[in-house]
Each structure stands twice: as structure tokens, then as C-alpha cells.
Symmetry: C2
Subunit: 157 residues, 2 copies
DNA sequence: TTTATTAATGATAATGATTGTCATTAACAT
DNA sequence: ATGTTAATGACAATCATTATCATTAATAAA
């Protein structure tokens, strides 16, 4: 199975073609930006970055592409409470894998964490199983966020 | 300890006075609505309900009051992905206590669940302790949501 | 109880993230 | 190379939320 190391054609080539979607310059540029950052970018953040290397793109296309990427599971969409959605690549060579977030309610700082994920997975699997049966829900995803104050914001009087 | 049963003066009387906030008719009406429902109401939902018994109220005041109630911890604010914030009383005689949510991505249905809360509390306490130390965060709150399809939406082809 | 202080309110306008429209472009199967 | 039509970009529209500001009323002082 070639190209698993990211040295060949971009790993998402097949993702699009397989679903009948066209691989356009806009979509490649957006995925490029997402795959080169560890930040949690808003649609406008992404637009501004893409615009530098592909000035023809429009903000509307960024929104449409992000919606598509979220629907197909390639990107996660988050709400951290600052009024704009944030996006993050869900998989690929550069992603840190399954993780959750610490959100500072003082300054908005976001910390990715992967600690306790094993214990968490076990509890969540059990919980998902129980909830699926009890409420007849087909669970596909979950969200965990911790809120608090980062080290900076704790020391502001 | 009187009034624990909700038969005396509203339990939130002291909450306001203690913080230096005035207990106005608007605020009482909003808390009344929130304490009489188990739904997850938007600001406009609340406005419409309050308006029936207190027509002088404005939507702006509903937003301002909700912000105050969230800041003081009396109300929780949620984003279930439908573009408007949802509010829920965090404590009081009628609240079901600490719980989390199942969100149907098909129709938006919300289910409160309290199952596995004990196991969850244990894992989260441990996680919070670990994350607090590792990332120097003072954690105050957490959010857990499961996403999936409710029994209705599973059977739509 | 009357009065003074000022937090709270409501009408209205403004904001800003996101979505809808539609003529034009370009990806890709043939 | 060509045709089909998904995708795009410019622009307008939507709509939840926030800002402004003159007026009202909750509370404490007299
Ligand atoms: Mn992240
Ligand atoms: Mn609830
Ligand atoms: Zn902070
Ligand atoms: Zn449903």
C-alpha cells in the first residue's frame, strides 16, 4: 500500500474521487493549509492563509469546502465559545490523532490533550453501548471539552 | 433549613442579592420559565414564553439576563449545532442534576442522560487532576456530548 | 414614606458569521 | 478535444447576537 508515508500524491486524493467529488485547486489548497497547522483555525483564518497562495479563492468556497470536509469526516468542526467555528483535520500524516481540548475561558487558549485517552475510550465505549441500547441511538461521535483558566489567566487580579 | 422544597420564596432570591444584583421582574420571569421546563430553550424560545406573562420584556433583556445567569453559574449554555445557543437551569428543585446530552445529527433531538455518571465522575476527576498539573490549568467545568442518530432518523432511507 | 442613586431596561440600530443566488468556470468521463 | 455538470466567486441576504442610549424602577438612605 503505497503513499502511506505522505511522500506520494496527497493522501486525500482517493477520498474525493471515491465519493464522486472533484479534486479542485481550492480544495487542495484548503487541505494543504489544514495539514500544515496544529492550530484551530476559523473559516476566515483559513481563507486568509489560502488566499496568499491561491488569491482567486473566495470565502464562500472556503465555507462550502469545510462543510463538505466535515460531512465526509475528514475535518472536525468545533465551537469553543468565541462566536466562530473552528476546524481541525481529523486524520492524516500530520494529525495528532484522537484527542480532546482544554479551553481557557479567560483568553480562549486551546490545548490539545491525549492524556487518559485509553481510560476514556474504555468508559466511552461502555457508555456508548449502554446509551445506544437504552435510548435507541446510533452513536457515531463524541465531544469532550474541559473549561478553566490557563496559567496566565489564573494570575490576573 | 427552610425552603429546600421550593414552597417558600424562590430559591434564587439570595443568589442575586448576595452578588449585588437587583431582583427584577424580568429576571424572575426568566427564571420561572427556565425552572418550569425540561427542554433546552433558545433565547428567543424563552423570550416568547416570558412575553406571554410579562409582555413588557424585550429580547435584549433576555440575552442580558441569560449572560448574567451563565456568568453566575445558575444556567448552562450549550451549542448543539443548530446555530443558536440553548440554555438550561443548572440547579434548583426542578433540575435533574448533573447530566450530559445525546444529540441527534439528523433532527436535532436532545436527550438528557445521567447513566454512567458515577464512573464518568471518577474518570473525569482523575483526568482533571492530571490535566491541571500537566498543563497548569485550573479546571472549572466540563462538557460531554454524544452525537448520532435517534431511532426515528435511523429509519429514514 | 419619600427621595436619591444608579443598575437595569427596552426600542432600535449595528454587527458579523454564515448561507443563498446565479452567471461563469473548470474537472473529468467520454 | 469535447460535453456535462459540479464547483466556483462575487454579491446579496439572513439571522443570532451585541452595542447604544434615553428612560425606568430596584434598592438604600434620609
Ligand atoms: Mn485539537
Ligand atoms: Mn439537559
Ligand atoms: Zn487563558
Ligand atoms: Zn433524529
Amino acid at each position: 500500500m503505497p503513499w502511506r508515508d505522505g511522500t506520494g500524491p496527497p493522501w486525500w486524493h482517493g477520498k474525493f474521487r471515491g465519493c464522486g467529488y472533484r479534486l479542485t485547486a481550492s480544495r487542495q489548497a484548503i487541505l494543504d493549509v489544514l495539514s500544515k497547522t496544529s492550530k484551530h483555525l476559523s473559516a476566515e483564518d483559513i481563507y486568509l492563509k489560502v488566499h496568499k497562495i491561491y488569491p482567486a479563492i473566495g470565502l464562500t468556497t472556503v465555507y462550502r469546502t469545510l462543510e463538505l470536509l466535515v460531512q465526509t469526516g475528514m475535518v472536525f468542526k468545533f465551537d469553543f465559545g468565541d462566536g466562530k467555528a473552528r476546524y481541525e483535520l481529523s486524520e492524516g500524516p500530520r494529525s495528532i490523532g484522537h484527542h480532546h481540548h482544554l479551553v481557557c475561558t479567560g483568553c480562549g487558549r486551546i490545548v490539545d490533550y491525549t492524556d487518559f485517552i485509553d481510560d476514556e475510550i474504555e468508559l466511552l465505549n461502555q457508555t456508548e453501548k449502554g446509551l445506544s441500547k437504552k435510548y435507541n441511538f446510533k452513536i457515531t461521535n463524541h465531544l469532550i471539552q474541559f473549561y478553566g483558566l490557563c496559567y496566565r489567566c489564573q494570575n490576573i487580579k
